[in-house]
């Protein structure tokens, strides 16, 4: 295999050293180069492979590889290669990195990133260059609103989308006075803004919006403040290490028993093992839940576990759906990756039977999808209902809408 792999591009292809990476990497390197007449389709991935968000980057990538492998490692009958680039989740490097993939590696498709700031830079350049770009995580509202573009799709979520339903749900539950808490950065502000919109619509009032300096994880002062405000409930958005710390501190401070904790799904996704019992009883909304009882989900989770040895999560699902989007559209144009118009048309028409349920694109290219209400029970995000069916981001300010 090594000869072939070197040919693909020693420089651009990130060789995974994990067992999972190797397994899938071998899977997409063709063993019989007989059909390799046409140039390969290039898919650029700009994701964090190092640093705090590395786990997300790897899950998205590995799920994409899984999806592509299931489709016989062909896109519209053509071979392809993944050009992986470490984004380091650093917006300062994002523009240069995007440029490297689009102009340098001349990728046909671009996908990524995790960080919203990186997504903003990526969307800007992708719009100018016209490369079809699939955002596989970052939720910045603007990407499918004022900054939307015909060649930009998002297979994940918008920040608004996952939090607005929680606002209406909490109001429905009769909660009146709520404190929201998040990091002081764009994604956090968008999340609690959407929550507030939904909550106030339902007649609730947000007592206070607490913004914690990013990426500070010292929450004790804020918890004391929350306790003295005596709200009916708390709505929180944190992710990764911050989520673990906040949920544990919240429980430790004895608040969980008195003031129920609600949040955006990322508060308890991929972090439950680290949070342990502290997360029990936390309510969250998200467009996915591990325990969704859909055949597509069960099948996907088993396959992902088999391929990587890890449990799938929402990020993996987003990566998997990104692969499905590519497979479907490329099949429609019979592998002609230059037929941008036709590809965009095919993508807009795409219907997904995804592990997360049925979904399709809105006019502004954001998923129209169900948002589930989940409760942590026995160390699992158990689905207790649908907070809102077929949630569609308003797409305000999008020219294509």
């Amino acid at each position: 295999m090594t000869d072939m792999q070197r040919k693909i591009s020693r420089r651009e292809l990130l060789k995974n050293t994990t067992a999972a990476g190797l397994a899938t990497a071998t899977a997409f390197v063709p063993m019989h180069p007989a059909i390799a007449q046409q140039a390969k389709v290039k898919i650029g991935l700009l994701l964090p492979y190092t640093g705090t968000y590395a786990a997300l980057g790897h899950n998205i990538t590995d799920a994409m590889k899984l999806g592509l492998a299931e489709a016989g490692n062909r896109l519209g009958g053509r071979e392809f290669e993944l050009v992986q680039l470490d984004s380091e989740a650093d917006p300062a490097k994002a523009a240069a990195n995007t440029n490297k993939l689009i102009v340098g590696a001349k990728v046909d498709f671009l996908s990524g990133p995790v960080h919203s700031g990186v997504a903003m830079a990526m969307a800007k350049i992708a719009r100018e260059e016209g490369t079809i770009t699939i955002i596989s995580n970052a939720g910045a509202n603007a990407v499918t609103r004022e900054m939307c573009g015909p060649n930009i799709f998002r297979t994940s979520f918008s920040n608004w989308q996952v939090c607005f339903p929680m606002g209406t749900e909490m109001a429905r539950r009769g909660l009146k006075r709520v404190v929201s808490v998040t990091w002081n950065y764009a994604a956090g502000k968008e999340m609690i803004g959407a929550f507030r919109e939904g909550f106030e619509k339902g007649g609730g009032a947000v007592l206070k919006e607490i913004l914690v300096p990013f990426p500070n994880v010292e929450f004790q002062a804020n918890l004391t403040e929350i306790a003295s405000l005596k709200p009916d409930a708390v709505f929180a958005f944190f992710a990764g290490a911050g989520a673990v710390k906040f949920v544990k501190d919240y429980a430790e401070a004895g608040l969980k028993a008195r003031i129920p904790l609600y949040g955006a799904g990322f508060l308890t996704d991929g972090t439950l093992r680290a949070q342990g019992s502290a997360a029990e009883g936390v309510f969250t909304t998200l467009h996915y839940a591990d325990g969704l009882k859909a055949p597509a989900n069960t099948r996907f989770r088993e396959a992902f576990k088999k391929a990587t040895g890890r449990d799938a999560d929402v990020y993996a699902v987003q990566g998997y759906d990104t692969a499905q989007l590519l497979i479907g559209a490329m099949a429609k144009v019979k592998g002609d990756s230059g037929a941008t118009k036709a590809l965009i048309g095919a993508m807009e028409q795409a219907r997904f039977d995804s592990p997360r349920g049925q979904w399709h694109f809105s006019k502004s290219h954001n998923p129209v999808q169900d948002v589930y209400l989940r409760e942590v029970r026995n160390g699992d995000n158990a689905v207790i209902g649908v907070a809102q069916k077929a949630v569609s981001d308003p797409g305000t300010g999008c020219g294509t809408a």
């Binding site: 591009s9 020693r10 420089r11 651009e12 292809l13 990130l14 060789k15 995974n16 050293t17 990476g21 492979y49 190092t50 680039l85 470490d86 650093d90 917006p91 300062a92 994002a94 523009a95 240069a96 440029n99 490297k100 102009v103 340098g104 919203s116 700031g117 903003m120 830079a121 800007k124 350049i125 100018e128 910045a140 603007a142 900054m147 002081n184 950065y185 764009a186 994604a187 502000k189 913004l211 300096p213 990013f214």
Partner: protein, 590 residues
């Protein structure tokens, strides 16, 4: 800045031509990549002005880079103002103002504290743009209208065009290099370089070093802002992350990797760093480990960076040519008429250190045109006294008047400019500079201002003249192009005296000029001092009594911080108290 070996000059010329040719031969990606590198190189050079030449290690330089970009983003937000004529100067002014504000607060600190205070201000700028509403927060801002350069309605340059942008950035890079090169040869540049090499000496020569650091900080900030402006133009996107400490650290890495204090080093550093990142990040998932190992290896194996390696390789073959100097003009005659009346007076001068009284109520009169020796056993407070007279120490109490002007507690540079020069107990020179350069810096301090940025300092005839004259008087004329570090101990002391002479002082303070000299060296220095005494007032501390009696007109005797006697030599020698307390002991001891 020492002149570069020919091989490196040729290398740089070839590299410049190659860069100019890139858009003709390179593909689109490499044109963009090199644009990006040249922006980083300009940014790195601006930091080198601080780190490598001024001796200020800033860990917050990215704040100015980011601010340059943000200025553009904010100015062009409603796309009404896209002229480069307006946006570029405004962006640079904004950075200049910010640098002035941060600079005037930061330069009070030094060393690691300076590193940290610049970090603090940069982090505050980062959080300001990250938190404040209206600047796009952590998602950043787009620049949708790229600036244009037009004259009378004709668009000359549209930075949307990548080739145009390439050449603008190229011009800025070359222009910045030339600007900095000129700057470093100017009187201003000579001062900051000297300051980096020996701050205390520079202050004692009469330079207000704070002001020089401040100007350097502002210039570097504005240049960084220019780089930031271009960086923002290139990708049309700014983000607070451009101001974060990681970016400041990154550019610092580029400068150190390339070689500080060389200007071309940081440019090479930028190329190597970016190409290395480009190469490694595609190689393996654990590319940062290789990057780390590379960085460690560079530190251990190439202490002066890539530029240091190149210099080492080329120096052997070509050797350093001495730079050509201005013709020596006839020395200006010094005012040799001896003054009468006190040139310096102190009144109840007292210095206490945490309970210990170093100098107590010293009231002294030093007549002009004489040689005054201050003697006393170790710990008598002699050096403390001199340090107060020269402004290195601020008195706890009392007054000092120089020619009737109260100079109590004034800064060393102020006192020096009034005409008080001093030498130190431990010879205090610029070891890395040549003898002539040492004296030139000193002579330059007598210019009305060294805040001159363009004309080479070596062309200042008056300065060269004073410098040569001073070297000549001290018998170092033949060695004027040798580096000071190559001199013998005695010659270094002579050089220091020459430096002080070059500042054209009226009053000369000397702290143990004969300390550590061999017998022959001591005699030479003594002869030199006698010659100088013909047209200067001297106050000297000395332990060598034979020397003191050979040269001094008056004696001041200090014991335990008290002045126990002062007056003409013979009178003090005859003083019983002095004999008992000091001279007697000396005779007994020797």
């Amino acid at each position: 800045m020492p002149s570069l070996p020919r091989a490196i000059l040729i290398l740089l010329a070839v590299a410049t031509i190659a860069l100019a040719a890139v858009p003709f031969v390179g593909d689109r990606f490499h044109v963009q990549l090199i644009t990006q590198i040249m922006v980083l190189a300009t940014f790195a050079m601006s930091l080198d002005l601080l780190v490598g030449f001024t001796g200020l290690v800033s860990f917050g330089h990215a704040a100015f880079y980011g601010l340059g970009g943000y200025s553009l983003a904010i100015l062009t937000r409603d796309a009404s103002l896209v002229s480069m004529w307006a946006t570029l100067p405004l962006a640079i002014i904004a950075c200049g103002v910010a640098a002035a504000a941060i600079g005037c607060l930061s330069i009070r600190t030094s060393g690691v504290y300076f590193i940290m205070i610049t970090l603090a201000f940069a982090q505050m700028a980062y959080y300001f743009f990250n938190d404040a509403r209206g600047f796009g927060g952590s998602d950043g801002l787009y620049i949708n209208a790229k600036p244009q350069l037009s004259v009378a309605g004709v668009t000359l340059l549209n930075l949307h065009n990548r080739t145009a942008l390439y050449y603008v950035v190229f011009t800025v890079l070359v222009g910045s290099a030339v600007f900095l090169w000129v700057l470093l040869r100017s009187p201003f540049g000579q001062v900051i370089t000297a300051m980096r090499s020996n701050e205390g000496r520079t202050r004692a020569l009469g330079f207000p070093i704070g002001r020089y650091k401040f100007v350097s900080f502002c210039l570097a900030g504005m240049l960084a802002g220019l780089a930031g402006y271009l960086g923002a133009v290139q990708f049309g996107y700014v983000n607070p992350a451009h101001m974060a400490w990681r970016e400041s650290g990154r550019v610092l890495m580029v400068v150190i990797l390339g070689g500080t204090g060389t200007l071309f080093g940081p440019v090479l550093g930028a190329f190597v760093f970016v190409f290395l990142e480009d190469l490694l990040s595609g190689l393996t998932e654990h590319w940062l480990m290789i990057m780390g190992a590379f960085v460690v290896a560079v530190v251990l194996l190439l202490p002066n960076g890539i530029a240091g390696l190149l210099l080492r390789l080329t120096r052997n073959s070509s050797g350093v040519r001495p730079s050509d100097d201005a013709v020596i003009e006839a020395p200006r005659m010094l005012d040799v008429t001896a003054r009468s009346g006190p040139i310096l007076e102190t009144e109840s001068l007292t210095k206490r250190f945490a309970g210990l009284v170093a100098v107590n109520l010293a009231s002294l009169r030093f007549e002009a045109g004489k040689v005054h020796a201050v003697i006393g056993p170790n710990g008598a407070g002699k050096t403390t006294l001199i340090n107060m007279l020269s402004g290195e120490l601020s008195p706890t109490d009392g007054h000092i008047r120089y020619k009737g002007i109260d100079i109590t507690g004034r800064s060393p540079d102020f006192i020096s400019r009034l005409g008080v020069g001093r030498s130190f107990q431990v010879t205090n020179i610029y070891p890395s500079l040549s003898c002539l350069q040492n004296c030139r810096i000193a002579a330059q301090s007598r210019l009305p201002s060294s805040m001159r940025f363009f004309r080479p300092a070596s062309q200042l005839a008056k300065v060269a003249c004073s410098a040569h004259f001073a070297l000549d008087r001290c018998g170092l004329a033949a060695r004027c192009h040798e580096p000071a570090s190559a001199l013998s101990h005695g010659d270094r002391r002579k050089l220091e005296i020459a430096m002080v002479l070059a500042t054209d002082p009226e009053l000369f303070l000397l702290d143990e000029p004969l300390a550590g000299m061999g017998a022959q060296e001591g005699r030479e220095i003594l002869r030199l001092l006698k010659a100088i005494a013909r047209d200067h007032t001297l106050i000297l501390i000395e332990h060598d009594m034979d020397a003191v009696f050979a040269i001094a007109d008056t004696l001041t005797v200090m014991v335990n911080g008290e002045v126990i006697a002062a007056g003409p030599v013979d009178q003090v020698r005859a003083d019983r108290a002095v004999q008992d307390a000091y001279l007697g002991h000396r005779d007994a001891a020797e």
